[in-house]
């Protein structure tokens, strides 16, 4: 069974999603019933789940920002990459 200490530790490591389901259920049960750490840890868990969803959606679809990279800057970048490739600092896979 989880103690308050191990719940906090597990939440800090953010590994509770990877725990086997009986352990995960025990952790959720603890957070649900424990009056000492319940509220705080429940908030941490809710925010971690929200952040995980944001992380996954952002990685898959890109960040939601309306600020394209200027085309002049893109051109400069292409030139810099070309220069790097010409200098031979590139090992093709």
């Amino acid at each position: 069974m989880f103690t308050c200490k191990s719940v906090s530790k597990s939440l800090a490591k953010e590994d509770y999603q990877t725990l086997p389901w009986p352990k995960r259920a025990a952790l959720k049960l603890h957070v649900w019933v424990c009056c000492v750490c319940g509220r705080y840890n429940k908030q941490v868990m809710q925010m971690q789940d929200t952040c995980r969803a944001f992380r996954e959606q952002s990685a898959a679809q890109g960040e939601p920002i309306e600020a394209p990279l200027a085309s002049s800057r893109k051109e400069a970048l292409r030139a810099r990459i070309k220069e790097q490739l010409t200098n031979g600092d590139f090992k093709e896979k």
Binding site: F54, P68, R73, R78, F90
Partner: protein
Amino acid sequence: MPAPSPDEPSAPSAKRPQNCQVPPPEDWVDLYGDYLYRYALSRLRDPSLAEDCLQETFLSGIKHLEKLDSSRDIKFWLRAVMRNKIIDIFRRRERQPTIDLGEDGAILDTALYKHTGIASIFPEAWKFDPRKLTEHAEFRDIFQTCLDQLKEPAREAFLLKMVEGLDSKEVCKVMQIEPNHLWVLLHRARKDLIKQLAKVGLDRSRNH
């Protein structure tokens, strides 16, 4: 979630699938430029820093391309390279010598906490579960907007720990702060963020 390090030697790998060819670096700007730039900008909030970070990422990617694990999508590998660059930029930032713990530090100041590690002051209850928003079609935009409204250095601590997934020790090292300062900054960020998210969430549920 431990971040994949692009500097790790590539694993002895399975045969690269036919559809997983690495595009030549000359095409990276067109293929991944906007995606990576938006990533850098969302974290650094400074267009010129984000542009520099993008250039460093591409050049570093070219240099270490032989380390790319053939089973990985190069887009996410470059994102991992950029993540390390962003953390480096945070590490190099000039910092305030001390962090004002304010009223959020009160929880850590009680004798019970100091001696047992048990917080005796309950944090304010949340009237809204932020997970409800994750199914929303505009969740990414909503969360990013709310995140942008956090004040520094709480935003930076929250980004590194909760969004980029660094462990607490690494965040303290990057930000050059003590663990109790990190705890307070995260607590403050969560408190401010939930206020923003709740406002958006409740407004939307009222309108639908």
